[in-house]
Amino acid sequence: MKALHKDSFLQIKHTFKRFCSILLMALLGVGFFAGIKATSPDMKQTLDTYFDDNNIYDIDIMSTLGFNQNDIETIKSVDEIDNVLFTYSTDIEVELKEKTVIAKAYAYMNQPINQFNLIDGKMPTEEKQCVIERNFAQREGIQVGDYITVKLEENSILKDNSFEIVGTIESPLYISTERGSTKLGDGMIDCYLYIAEQSFDSDVYTQCYITVDGAKELNTFSNEYQDLIEGKINLFENVADKREEERYQEIMDEANREIAENEQKLNEAKQEANEKISEAQKEIEEGESQIRSAEQTVYQNEKKAENEFKLAEEKILEAQNKLDEQANLWNSSKQTILIQISEGEEGINQLKEAIAKIGETINSIEEKYEGITDENLLEQKKQQIDEANKQKQKLEEEQARVQTQIEEAKKTITQTEEQIANGKNEIEKNKQELQQTKNSTYNQIAQAKSTIASNKNKIEEAKETLNEEKEKANKEIKDAETKLADAKKELEKIEKPTWYVLDRTANTGYSSYEQDTERISNIGKVFPIVFFIVATLISLTSMTRMVEEQRVQIGTLKALGYSKIQIAGKYILYSSVATILGAIVGMSIGFVLLPKTIFSMYEMLYTMPDIQTEFNWLYAITGLVIASFCIVGATIYACHRELKNVPATLMRPKAPKPGKRVFLEKIPLIWKHLNFTKKVTARNIFRYKNRFLMTTIGICGCTAMILAGFGLRNSISSIIPLQYEEIYQYQMMISLKDILEEEKILKKEEIASMDKVKDILAATMESGQIEKNEEKDIQILISQDSPKLQEFIKLRNIKTHENFTLDEENVIITEKIARLLNIKVGDIIKLTNNEGKKAEVKVGAITENYIYHYVYMSNNLYESLYSTRPEENILLIKTDNISSQEEETLAKKILEDDEKIAGISKNSDAMSIMDDTMKSLDSVVWILIISAGLLALVVLYNLSNVNISERTRELATIKVLGFYDKEVYDYVTKETIILTIIGIFVGLLGGYFLNLFILETCETDMIMFNKIVAPTSYIYAGVITGVFAFIINIMTYFQLKKIDMIESLKSVE
């Protein structure tokens, strides 16, 4: 046995090329199988880890009325839940620099559930802080530290309207580019953000996230997980049923109580109002009577004062009169006195004269007695003088007495006059005093009067106010009453709250990711089969050839007494080593390369961490088992075929396969016209059926895979120009803000008049749902001008290109949604508009469309369906043939009016985004081409090896006959070429169907592929396969050259 083993390994050394080809087949087969099979689990595992790492919810509950304390307690009381997060979320309109976008805002509340990755900045822990998704921030050039403004709706649960962006994030809740729909704006959510919970203000939580015990340990896509969650969902649905009822009752009770309370309040308010009014009236009345009494008092006081003044005046007058009398009296007595005075003064003067005369007498006595010294005489003189003096004295006395009398009289005059003057003064004074008193009294009265007047005014005002208040109060009360009545009416309308208990599949990103992984695993079901079939065929031919070559040795061994198994063991060992080595290398490469490559294509579509590749034992072993079954099985079969012969037969050369006439010979018309070499070729082709089959299958598989690769690219890339250039005839779509009708018309005209704008059409775009057995989201486009719409959006039959028009009864839906929901022309569908109203309508036509789903209808139809008039909210614009730069300028110009324009979307942008996605498809094409090429190379190389080794003798002979190298080459490869050509043609046909199959499995719900394969792709596929065949043929040429003619002399083995 040892020798046999050794022989086996030596065999490897000697037939290294053959060994390699088997190894390579195992490598390709297992590598591709394991890789493609592992991709889907790897992708699932990657997402599961991503979800687990971030504690993503297992169950998401929403209620139309939010969650109150009772709800929270009930939910928390459910068994086996790991964690619960009650939080807020709301859709908001965010104003950016140039446009308004719609965002989904969640409350950030430390997130025990639904954590997210902070890419940049910090978490929004303080009021007025938020974090925004990274991709969106990048796309819009939003930086950490920027502020955003939110247009707050009425009764928004947000209380702030300006937020600082403190970070950028990536949330596992949003792995795809889909952000969901909303009732705001154009109905599509553009981004998500987390706002600090402090900025929310709501009585109830809007959202409830739950993680379930033991769910984290399970893979989210596994059946165990689904069973677990399904069980919990049933539980929560029961809770939901109960709480819906209870909550309804609570609300009703609450509402009733509130109504009752309000009624009471109203009544109280009424009473209070009445009381207040009457009080006020009383006050006014009091005020009025006060004023009246004050007026009287003033009047009385005035009268009194007037009387008093009259009396006083009279007194004064009396006094004056008296005084005047006295004065008159005085004047007469004064005259007398004055006369007396003047008489007195005259007497004085006389007295003075008498006195003077006495003086003169004295003087004359003196003179007479001058010189007389006689005493007698002197005595006489003296006597005379004394006498004179006596007289004089007497006179002087008299004068003095008169003087005194005058003085007295004068004094009397003065005194009397003084008295009179005093009296006068007194009177004046009294008069003045009276005047003053009068003035001040009258002032006081006037003041009192004006006070009264102003008080009167005040009272008038008070009266007026009172009346107003009365009216107001009445109105308020009436309002309150109507409100109350309304509230009562509303109460009847209150709907039961609805709870939605959702699992992760309700997350768009999650479910589309799951679908994508399913698609890959579907591809994994088909392609490896091709490889394994080819591997089986290759190893069958190789091993058969090898066994045949060693017939004699086998015979000898058998003759020596080795058992069949022992002998076959050598070949089994040989092929097993090749298979195992190939499989190990193959799976090592496959497990990493394929998942990574395929995932790299999906990275365009999903925001996720890098894929985790792992060594998947299941697929490793399955792959190895299948490969072993194919390759070692083929070996055993080949051995068995030979080993069943007895040693004697084995040791004799194998009878060459007899030549046979081929069917072509029976058609002399053709056969006769074939030249000799062609006849030989034809015979050979039909002679080596195995090779014929193998080459055809191998080449066919290769061509089919390459064609499918190109076809995939054609089918997907062709939808871009079809959608954006053929179906959409417009270049830009402007979404209008919610502005007045007239403004819209003005705006439309303004834009229409802009440079480069060729045509413009206003229409209505809403998001809604379409339902037929199943419900799907759809965009509703409503236009009133069907012929004109046709100029902007081609509505046509996909095959006949017959144009459709909108009528008053039927809607037109797009092809893909029709296929998804199996809707035929004439079917009735349920259509929900963006206000949630449902209506049934007939489908009039199904129109060609590739991206998203639309339903088109006329304004009148919309109005008759929903009994509301559609409000135009978009403008479609056709531009002149302009450069992208000009288009950019135009868009900017239009966007300048941010009062009326909510946003603009250019088809050219959409096209370039799609183009990027298309680039990722190139890698699929490359994977297919490379694996197909490898397949083709291995198949052809192997076949050519087998062919040559099988026919060495024949080839050596024709070389001896003098065939030039080229002729020998032709002799052999003519067959190969013909087989290759046949294989290519079969492959092109097969590739068409393979392409269809791949497209069918790869197509997402939102996109319809255009299932075409471009003529050039057929050419590429053919040429590429041809090139591979050519490469092998060149190798064959050199191999043929190496054939030694001496071979021809050897005996037949």
């Binding site: 000799f676 030989v680 015979r683 024949e954 002979t957 001896v960 190298d965 003619m1045």
Partner: protein, 233 residues
Amino acid sequence: MAYIKFKDVVKEYTMGEVSICALKKTNFEIEKGELAIIVGPSGAGKTTALNIIGGMDTATSGDVIVAGKNISKFKPKELIRYRREDIGFVFQFYNLVQNLTAKENVELATQICKDPLDPETVLVNVGLKERLKNFPAQLSGGEQQRVAIARAIAKNPKILLCDEPTGALDYITGKQILKLLQDTARQQKMTVIIITHNTSLTPMADRVIRFKNGSAESVELNQNPTPIERIEW
């Protein structure tokens, strides 16, 4: 000058480290139109010599002159042309293409020649009139060898080389084949070289070259070759 001349022809095969000398300075000549037989035991180098004459192998050193041309100096392409135009080869195991009928096997050779004989005529001449459309598997060994000879002759070669043409055949059939070869040589004045290890055949040849240990030991000329019918072995 002789039609075919071996002059100091050496042929060495290197098998890894071992070098085997198949021909050691071999010298012999064959004249035009002769039927030459090369005899010798196995491993004496006769097949190597034939291969060199037939342009299937080249001498390591020495000159091989055929029809005045030194074929040992030929380039590969010239050698092919030489094989194609001047040489007809009959193998021990016939080497017919199993997938072609008798006639087609002959045509396989004639289609590449400048001046071939008519395949059917040749086949009729070799006595296969009824077997034209038969595949090799439907023919007996002798018939197959006849087809092989027909294929060689139909090329209208200057030299017909036969490597143990009867090796795989029974006595009678072998004799018939040899007769066919002898007749061909005689009638068509073709130079025929036959290799055999059967020395009893030598009388039929014009020239007998004996090989031993990698060189032509002796060359005998047979003035009156015996017709094959009269030779018994």
